[in-house]
């Protein structure tokens, strides 16, 4: 589907990308110890003797971390392995107190699955690409090294040491920075729907190892490099582009790509080789003898499945099919779990207020949310999360429109007033006398007055300048301070102009 190409001296090159995403599992305590996972604590204050790998300390796994990995696997319809086990990955580094990371190599908890990504928001149904997921395994995070505090020393903080991660390994199925971005956003969305990871890339809750290679379109796979720990969607996309360009350059200059670990420097927007980690790795994986095999029973799996929420793809389809939303709107409203939650609260309250089924008010609610509220929030520099208008408050406003109490244009004014004052829509409308009038006598006399005051324009209209119709309507609305039922104004203006013509 992707026609993304790097144009080199020898022609076009295709880029092949696979991602290993490390997602921090949402849990109170660490994967194998009872220390807290809270972000931003004093150095080494959230470290147990287990996390510090004191002699004789032993790991005991956290049920919630296992549960969240399983639920995540189920969310991508992956194979759940009822029998898995933990392996030790052995290497020496100052952020790794045990001298090994407890991970899962041979028998991961989640096997093959897939994620559908939408490549064109305007046409979701026809731009879906399926990205294969090879596996998800559970493992420990490492600690943190700080290099700039002392001239000759690095400082070790083990607060993160032992925090549970899911490593989500994709197949090398992506072919462009855009696909990689779409995949990461979708993955992040699923994790947040499931509640297994908060997706907060700034705090390091999600990091990607980016595996990139290039080849002539459709040719044999090239040698890949792995750029480690990239911590924003934008940076991951930049890595793909920069690394692909670099590789094409190397190959076209007659060189060859070395399979290596690289680091991304966002300031220079380039990747560089991590020389310090280049020495031949031999991780000597073997099953952790401190831990028995992890066996999941049916009751556990059933609970995991039952606790899954409606996921973004299913939700999008329901919004389109049952609520009649446009594919674009359905896509926007389901992209983030918070948006969908907000929308559904708004919808339920609006339906109650208006006394109409959800399907009948869904379009109105979606349009209002996407054009009115998003626009207003944008201007205020706020997001739905800290919106001054709640879903019930929004529903109150939409209910007034649905019942014909106020017009759409008055609704805009009311929203502004709601944002300014924090008051409810009904209170504002009553206080400020904004209720729409359907009094035909009042409307007729207003129209007559407008036509009388603009006799010249009436002439022009009758002479064929039909565009003036809107002018008369507008003037009437203005004269009635926007409170006239716009449909009735239209009808009366048309009638009066037509009557005189006849």
């Amino acid at each position: 589907m992707s026609e993304y190409r790097i144009e080199g001296a020898t022609g076009a090159w295709e880029v092949v990308v696979g991602l290993e995403v490390h997602a921090q599992v949402t849990s109170h305590s660490k994967l194998f110890s009872g220390a807290s996972t809270k972000f931003g604590a004093e150095p080494n204050s959230q470290v147990s003797l287990v996390d510090a790998a004191m002699p004789g300390m032993l790991p005991v796994p956290n049920r919630e971390c296992i549960r969240q990995a399983v639920r995540t696997g189920m969310a991508i319809e992956a194979q759940i392995n009822k029998w898995s086990r933990f392996d030790r990955k052995n290497y020496f580094y100052a952020d790794l107190p045990q001298g090994y990371q407890i991970s899962q190599l041979y028998h991961p908890i989640v096997g093959e699955g897939s994620i559908d990504v939408v490549l064109d928001d305007k046409d979701p149904e026809n731009s879906i690409k399926t990205i294969g997921i090879e596996r998800i395994h559970v493992e420990q995070d490492a600690g943190k090294l700080m290099h700039d505090q002392h001239p000759t020393m690095s400082y070790v903080d083990l607060n993160r040491s032992g925090v549970a991660l899911m490593e989500i390994v994709s197949r090398p199925d992506m072919r462009s920075p855009a696909e990689v971005g779409a995949y990461l956003r979708k993955l992040r969305s699923i994790l947040r729907y499931v509640g297994s990871c908060d997706g907060n890339m700034e705090e390091g809750s999600m990091r990607a190892d980016v595996n990139v290679s290039v080849r002539k379109p459709g040719g044999e796979l090239g040698t890949r490099t792995e750029t480690k720990n990239v911590n924003s969607v934008r940076f991951v996309m930049a890595v793909v582009e920069q690394e692909a360009r670099r590789q094409v350059g190397v190959i076209e200059d007659g060189g060859s790509i070395v399979q290596e670990t690289r680091l991304y420097d966002p300031d220079r927007n380039e990747t560089r080789s991590m020389r310090s980690k280049e020495d031949a790795h031999d991780y000597r994986y073997f099953p952790d003898p401190d831990l028995l095999p992890l066996e999941l029973d049916e009751a556990f799996l059933a609970e995991c499945r039952a606790s899954l929420p409606e996921l973004p793809d299913a939700k999008r389809h329901r919004y389109e099919n049952a609520l009649g939303l446009s594919p674009y709107n359905a896509g926007v409203l389901t992209a983030e779990v918070e948006t969908a939650r907000w929308f559904e609260a708004l919808l339920a309250a609006t339906s109650a207020k208006a006394g109409k089924p959800e399907a009948e008010v869904a379009k109105q609610a979606a349009n209002w949310l996407m054009s009115e509220l998003f626009g207003a929030l944008n201007r205020l520099g706020k997001s739905l999360e800290n919106s001054p208008v709640s879903p019930t408050a929004g529903a109150e406003l939409l209910g007034l429109v649905a019942k014909g109490t106020i017009s759409g244009s008055i609704a805009k004014q009311v929203l502004e007033r709601m944002l300014e004052t924090g008051d409810g829509a009904e209170a504002i409308v009553t206080r400020e006398g904004l209720t729409q009038t359907s009094d035909s006598g009042a409307i007729e006399s207003a129209v007559e007055a407008v036509l009388a005051a603009n006799a010249d324009k009436v002439e022009q209209y009758r002479g064929g300048k039909e565009a003036l119709f809107g002018f008369f309507v507008g003037q009437t609305m203005k004269a009635m301070q926007g409170k006239a039922n716009p449909q009735m104004v239209n009808e009366v203006v048309r009638a009066k102009l037509g009557a005189s013509t006849a």
Partner: protein, 95 residues
Amino acid sequence: MSVDKATVAKIASLARIRMSDDEVAAMVPELNNILGWVEQLGEVDVSGVEPMTAVIPNHLRLRDDVVTDGRVRDKVLANAPAPEHGFFGVPKVIE
């Protein structure tokens, strides 16, 4: 399979144990002696046999997700060779 000096040096480096050339040389026959002996395991027909996973039939217990530990920085750092402002100090690492 037998090891030579280069292999022993490589293993020692993987295991982060500094060894002089002489120590490496002395270790070669010792390791070969032991490896030669353990290799009799190759005689055993293990077809269809699963490697042992749990020595006594037992299930992995999972614990509840509760914060029960941590907040013991003094204990964590009590034996540190180079404690520095609440951190463990190590020679500067260049990444």
